[in-house]
């Protein structure tokens, strides 16, 4: 059954939305009216521009409230939960690996390209982990190699080949001008050119990465904010078991 929901201010279905944005115009009544018309053009039924302030001679910052009648069917929304599963903790994962594969699972990770952010990949991989969730290095049945940051895609692949990795983890934190997408796509292209895409489970992660994005550009999964080693380990070993069955 459909369940149509709308933004809530202080009364059900009042449709109140708070907005703020900048326009490349000088501050004044004309600018405020332009801002109001702009908000209305987005489908809002009412709009009140509650504040405008000159950011410079030619730019103005607006705060506005809009009222919308448009709703969404909550029941129809499908969350992408592929990377939400953290059902197996460290001990369970290790027991699973021992039983299913009878050997250590090898995982290689790095923050690639010119990206120098290590804290994210470290949170997933380092012994001490993050927010009281141990990292993959502590898992006795995983052999985890964290290559650190600023690692060229070529070097990561070379290393993964050398240690015969089961899974490759890539962190991308800088996203300006979609540099992360270019970098992630380049990695997959390199693997494909070598005919090795099927050889590794490929995982992308970072604060602006979603599973949806990662899968679209050829990864097995993507992990974003709030993820821990538990999520990644669960995904990798389940996926590996699936691959083994195929």
């Amino acid at each position: 059954m459909a369940n149509i929901v709308r933004p809530y201010g202080d009364t059900l279905d009042d449709g109140k939305v708070q907005l703020s944005f900048t326009l490349p115009v000088p501050d004044g009544p004309k600018g405020r009216e332009a801002a109001r018309l702009l908000v209305l053009s987005w489908g809002f039924k009412e709009c009140e521009v509650v504040n405008s302030a000159a950011v410079s001679d030619d730019f103005t910052f607006y705060v506005a409230y809009g009222k919308t009648e448009i709703g969404v069917d909550y029941e129809a929304a499908r969350a992408d939960t592929a990377s939400e599963d953290a059902s197996m903790g460290m001990d369970e994962t290790c027991a699973f690996v021992k039983e299913r594969f009878g050997r250590k699972v090898v995982i290689v990770g790095a923050c690639t390209g010119f990206d120098a952010h290590t804290v994210g990949i470290d949170a997933i991989m380092n012994m001490k982990g993050y927010n009281h969730h141990y990292g993959l290095e502590r898992y006795s049945m995983l052999e985890a190699h964290n290559l650190g940051a600023q690692i060229p895609n070529e070097r990561l692949i070379e290393f993964a080949e050398k240690v015969n990795a089961d899974a490759i983890l890539i962190s991308q934190v800088v996203t300006q001008k979609d540099v992360h997408v270019q970098n992630l796509v380049n990695f997959i292209e390199l693997l494909e050119a070598k005919g090795e895409r099927g050889r590794f489970i490929c995982i992308a992660g970072g604060p602006r990465i979603s599973n949806k994005l990662a899968v679209e550009i050829g990864y097995d999964a993507g992990f974003g904010k709030g993820c821990y080693a538990d999520h990644v380990a669960t995904f990798v070993v389940k996926k590996l078991a699936e691959k083994a069955r195929e």
Partner: protein, 549 residues
């Protein structure tokens, strides 16, 4: 400035003396070596500029060709070493000016192809080039001082420091103008993601960068002109900041000195820890770059704040203080006066800590009292900023409060959207308004407030100072290089012979010749061999500092 913490003077002196002992052996290594970028910085000050059709800068062409022909060329054993001697020799041989020679080099002429001519003529010509180059630097320094004197008292206190980072210098200009018009005193153009690992400085104006904009001399010029125009309009000096860091530290310092930048991010260890640049390389480069900065009256900013992104700010507070002491000693060794040392620190404790605000206040006050003449660069919360921008704004407000309450010198404004993207124009607006509101409303706070004698704030500061001394003892026993390689800073381990740029280090031979270095040392009153080629002394090093008494 009123002291409030009752810190032991003896302990502070002990920490300084430990730090001085730690940097001493590193300084010995530094003085015996040059690097490819030190050579290129030297060439740049002497007039080398431009790039070939592939974008390879002229200073790189010169140094690379000399090294490729004979790796010993730069050292100076039997023959004069250093790149400059060949550039000057070629200048004499070709008979034109530097612009003409630069063009020829860009078109394929090799300065190393000429046998070295009359040495006395080379020395004379070299001295003349150094005079012209450093003369420009001195003129810039005087222009800065004059403008600051003219517009005295019109800057905010602390200086409000804002970042622009669009990747496109022309967009940066718009953002910077807007920020300055709203009240920013300092504009920092953040460098693009990849630049610190480039062993050359790109040439010309640039419009393509990721997370920042290329530092190029032309970009410096463009931004300088724009900020000067806003300054004239507002009757307020607008400081321009860039990054003398990465593999080209000294060259960027040289370009900044030539284009009148006012501040440079310039840490003695940041490149090692956060960019994986070889430690020997960084140590040699940082000294030369700091000598240039000092000569140019440029205020440096150090990067201790970064430690707290990989270490816990509460637990590892002492590493920040220890690094400040080390940066200070490296700074003095490069001729930097305290008033040009914007030692860094940050408000990065986990916001959920009970009394976290008091600990932050304590840390900031402690830095203020220990480094009483240094401007101190205070950095906002970044690590614990999140998608909850409203909470983020509250955190930034607390930060503004601490900064004013402890009389910091350079205040980098926090952005409510820190966790999401490089700042939008409106984010900066919100930040400036917030800071102006907080700081105006507590203008005289510093003089009004004291801390309880045996209270949390006072005791915490004493504890951190004691921990710092212990830590410095440990480093002293190991040696700085081993301390870094075992992860004692920022919990990052860097092997001594690892990292980028190691191959760019050159041992100086007996005949190494660098009149720029000699002139800088002479001007800064630093010990060194050779005679002073510069016309007059730089000992007065401009009144540009933002030191607090």
């Amino acid at each position: 400035m009123k002291e409030k913490l009752g810190l032991s003077k003896g302990k502070i002196a002990e920490a300084r003396s430990l730090a001085s002992g730690i940097v001493a052996p590193v300084l010995d290594f530094i003085d015996g070596h040059t690097t490819v970028t030190v050579e290129r910085a030297t060439l740049r000050i002497a007039g080398a500029d431009g790039a070939d059709a592939d974008g390879v800068p002229v200073p790189n062409l010169i140094v690379d060709q000399l090294r490729a022909a004979d790796p010993a060329t730069l050292e100076g054993g039997a023959l004069e070493g250093g790149a400059l001697v060949h550039y000057v020799n070629a200048l004499i041989r070709t008979g034109g000016g530097t612009a003409d020679l630069n063009r020829r080099i860009a078109e394929g002429y090799r300065v190393g192809s000429e046998p070295l001519g009359d040495r006395e003529a080379i020395r004379r010509k070299g001295a003349q080039l150094v005079d012209i180059g450093l003369g420009k630097v001195k003129a810039n320094r005087m222009q800065r001082s004059a403008k600051m004197e003219e517009w005295k008292g019109r800057n905010n206190d602390p200086l409000l420091y804002l970042i622009v980072a669009t990747g496109n210098i022309h967009e940066d200009v718009k953002q910077a103008e807007a920020a300055a018009l709203r009240g920013a005193d300092v504009i920092a153009v953040i460098r693009t993601t990849a630049q610190s690992l480039l062993d050359y400085v790109p040439f010309g104006a640039t419009t393509e960068g990721f997370g920042g904009t290329y530092a190029t001399q032309e970009n410096f010029r463009i931004m300088r002109a724009a900020l000067d125009a806003v300054g004239e309009r507002e009757k307020r000096y607008i400081w321009l900041t860039n990054y003398a860091s990465g593999l080209c530290m000294p060259e960027i310092a040289a370009m900044g000195a030539l284009e009148r930048l006012d501040m440079m991010l310039n840490d003695s260890m940041y490149g090692i820890l956060f960019r994986d640049i070889n430690m020997y390389r960084t140590f040699v480069d940082q000294k030369f770059s700091r000598m240039i900065n000092s000569y140019a009256g440029i205020t440096i900013n150090t990067g201790e704040d970064n430690y707290l992104t990989t270490s816990d700010a509460y637990e590892k507070a002492f590493t920040v203080l220890a690094s400040q002491f080390l940066n200070e000693q490296f700074g003095y060794a490069a001729g930097l006066p305290a008033r040009l040392m914007g030692l860094g620190h940050a408000m990065e404790m986990e916001p959920g800590i009970k009394n976290g605000f008091l600990y932050e206040l304590s840390q900031a006050q402690m830095a203020r009292e220990i480094f009483s003449e240094h401007p101190l660069k205070y950095m906002p919360p970044t690590k614990f900023m999140s998608g909850d921008i409203f909470k983020g704004l509250a955190m930034d407000t607390m930060f503004n409060f601490v900064s004013k309450a402890t009389n910091q010198g350079i205040h980098l404004l926090g952005m409510l959207t820190e966790a999401i993207h490089t700042p939008f124009m409106m984010d900066r607006y919100i930040a400036v308004e917030n800071a102006k509101y907080v700081m105006n409303s507590m203008e005289s706070f510093y003089d009004e407030i004291e801390f309880a004698k045996d209270g949390l704030v006072v005791n915490r500061a004493k504890e951190v100072l004691s921990q710092t001394i212990e830590f410095l003892h440990e480093i002293g026993e190991k040696g700085l290089l081993d301390a870094i390689s075992t992860g004692m800073f920022a919990e990052v381990k860097r092997p001594k012979d690892g990292g980028k740029g190691l191959e760019g280090i050159v041992k100086k031979g007996n005949n190494y010749w660098n009149p720029v270095e000699e002139a800088l040392k002479a001007g800064l009153g630093l010990p060194g061999r050779g005679r002073d080629y510069s016309a007059s002394s730089a000992g007065d090093a401009s009144s540009a500092g933002v030191a607090k008494g």
